[in-house]
């Protein structure tokens, strides 16, 4: 009886989503795993089938979905020969809650509340990309007040720091540097406290909305931001001592999970995975949105495409984010924090007390929502994990006809079988960690 038959219907309902056993690892399957990016011919793949160990020398084991190093509910089926990983198949869907379907039943004002729960480590990016797409469809993308756009940049860069600190924490823990986990969470918490002060919530902020942001920056925000970004660089220097220059840590990561630029592009990988292979591609610089063309920052790239490069890129992107935030503090203009377009913006609170029409207007916007012209648009931003895209089809009503989020983690996960092939099972943990998948975004 094959693995598939045994598994289907008895323990799980994954059935044919699972990895097949070795005897059925025919040319077609190897073509899928290897040939896709290496451009093998079918004949070459067929030659590979006979090679390798026989079935009684390998075993297929499950890693996850409940495993501390799988960052949530990622399940990997690994075919092992001793400690060597031969084939890998990620199985996802354990966190699927139909958020794209839910999004079709929420108005454009309720939309950010929904999408912010996808990539829960970088929620502001989800809100941003949803708002940008809605504004594009409304045709008001040029009219958003400059202050609102700069506030969006400020918050997403703070969010980038907290997200990358979370990566440093979990990456440290996964390769055995447990103290790093505590430090990373500690520093991230400072960032979340700052976000809570500005938006009202630690996570799932619903702060960036179509038309601008929910509220202006609170009193004392500048000091709070400065305190935060002054506190991070000393910690980063500490991490350099603790991790970057430390021989054991480097041994765990250098040369592990290598992927080439050609493979990364073929597999659609974006973000730090693509940059680690030496491709200098960052949407903030190459296809600027908001006001990124007015700030000065470097795109960090790697050379070898290994786990260490991906670590180094993320830790240095924190430094770049701090550089951007300092410039934002100087450049942030006064003005409105949301567009004064009666169509999308509710009247101010004071007007509601004195005007019946304002009250009706306020009520209408929050119950029925505003109508968005017929059309479809795709917008994308550079999230800490890569290109985060949003595709909305509008039928002219106040709810999206179709709302799709292109999650970078979902696509990046496809690089796992390539990075893991031929590596050790201990390295598998480091490789999953370096891809930094957020399962909420993978499964949506």
């Amino acid at each position: 009886m094959s693995i598939t038959e045994r598994a289907s219907g008895i323990e799980t309902s994954e059935g044919s989503q699972e990895m097949t056993d070795r005897s059925s690892a025919n040319a077609e399957e190897l073509l899928r795993e290897l040939g896709a990016t290496l451009r093998l011919s079918e004949a070459e793949a067929a030659e590979l089938v006979g090679e390798g160990p026989s079935e009684d020398q390998t075993m297929i084991i499950n890693m996850g979905p409940q495993h501390p190093s799988t960052h949530g509910v990622l399940r990997l089926m690994l075919e092992l020969e001793g400690e060597t990983v031969l084939r890998t198949k990620p199985i996802v869907g354990y966190l699927h809650t139909g958020m794209e379907k839910t999004g079709e039943d929420l108005t454009y004002l309720q939309g950010p509340t929904n999408v912010t729960r996808m990539d829960y480590a970088a929620p502001l990016f989800n809100e941003l990309v949803f708002s940008l797409t809605t504004e594009k469809l409304l045709g008001i993308d040029e009219d958003i007040p400059a202050r609102a756009q700069w506030i969006r940049m400020l918050l997403t860069e703070i969010n980038r720091i907290t997200s990358n600190l979370l990566f440093l924490a979990t990456n440290g823990m996964d390769v055995g540097a447990v103290s790093m986990m505590l430090y990373g969470w500690r520093d991230r918490e400072e960032g979340l406290r700052l976000l809570e002060m500005i938006t009202g919530l630690r996570m799932n902020h619903n702060y960036i909305r179509p038309g601008g942001v929910a509220a202006d920056l609170p009193d004392g925000w500048r000091d709070a931001v400065l305190t935060f970004i002054d506190g991070v660089p000393p910690s980063l220097d500490e991490y350099d001592v603790l991790l970057t220059g430390q021989p054991i840590y480097r041994e765990r990561l250098q040369g592990v999970g290598v992927i080439t630029a050609q493979e990364a592009i073929a597999l659609g990988a974006t973000g730090p995975i693509l940059r680690s292979t030496g491709v200098p591609w960052d949407l903030r610089r190459d296809m600027p949105y908001l006001f990124y063309e007015q700030v000065d920052f470097d795109v960090v790239v790697g050379t070898y495409g290994d786990c260490f490069d991906r670590y180094a890129i993320r830790i240095n992107e924190i430094r770049e984010a701090i550089k951007i935030i300092r410039q934002i503090l100087d450049l942030l203009p006064p003005g409105d924090y949301r567009i004064q377009d009666k169509k999308v913006t509710p009247p101010p609170r004071a007007r509601i007390d004195e005007s019946m029409e304002a009250l009706i207007h306020h009520f209408k916007i929050f119950t029925e929502g505003f109508k968005v012209p017929v059309g479809e648009a795709y917008m994308a931003v550079e999230s800490p994990r890569g290109e985060l895209g949003c595709y909305i089809v509008s039928d002219g009503s106040s709810k999206p006809y179709r709302m799709h989020i292109r999650g970078p983690s979902f696509v990046n996960l496809q690089t796992l079988p390539h990075m893991m092939r031929g590596g050790l099972i201990a390295d598998a943990v480091a490789i999953i960690s370096s891809v930094d998948p957020i399962m909420g975004e993978v499964d949506r």
């Binding site: 289907s8 059935g15 989503q17």
Partner: protein, 178 residues
């Protein structure tokens, strides 16, 4: 000068639909959209990759237009069908994206896989198959990816109701279920 302009205006024929690799082009909110036919899609994507430097496939998704009543914004000559597969390509060299909308009929929801052109579409095509029931011919492993294997139906289709699962509370039968 004025004469020249007038002559030019008269001489210009009615502009035909712009085409890229045989696919008619429309613009939506300032973004370029190609409308290849179902049979042409893999070839158009391949030509875009080989000739026009669209080297990465960012996204493959679907739309079910069953209950859509507004204008579909299709170019002349493209007949609307129930399903649409939407592919987003990226060119790193040209720093631009292009979107491809392909009509897929309800009676035969299949089209050619892009796996041979961009292997990164593997998971995305599985997602479209899972949530819309659109089959990709030539895909190496077309199985459900997000839903359980024994799930019946394709949730993002418009004739699938939005989730309302009967919850078995003990007091449920005493209250009028909304």
């Amino acid at each position: 000068m004025a004469d020249d302009v007038a002559v030019e205006e008269v001489a210009t024929p009615v502009p035909e639909v712009e085409r890229v690799h045989g696919a008619p082009v429309t613009w939506s909110a300032g973004q370029r959209v190609l409308h290849p036919s179902r049979g042409d899609l893999p070839a158009v994507v391949r030509s875009l990759r080989d000739d026009d430097h669209f080297n990465m496939c960012l996204d493959v998704t679907g739309v079910d237009y069953l209950t859509y009543e507004a204008d579909r914004q299709l170019p002349p000559g493209v007949a609307p069908e129930r399903f649409e597969v939407v592919v987003t390509l990226m060119s790193h060299r040209r720093r631009e994206r292009v979107r491809l909308r392909t009509q897929v009929p309800e009676a035969d929801p299949t089209l050619g896989s892009l796996f041979d052109v961009h292997p990164g579409t593997e998971a995305m095509e599985r997602e479209v198959f899972d949530l819309f029931g659109i089959a990709f011919e030539g895909h190496p492993d077309l199985t459900r990816i997000l839903m359980p294997e024994d799930w019946v139906g394709h949730p993002l289709r418009k004739d699938q109701a939005i989730g309302r699962i009967p919850v078995q509370f003990k007091a449920a039968d005493r209250k009028d279920a909304r």
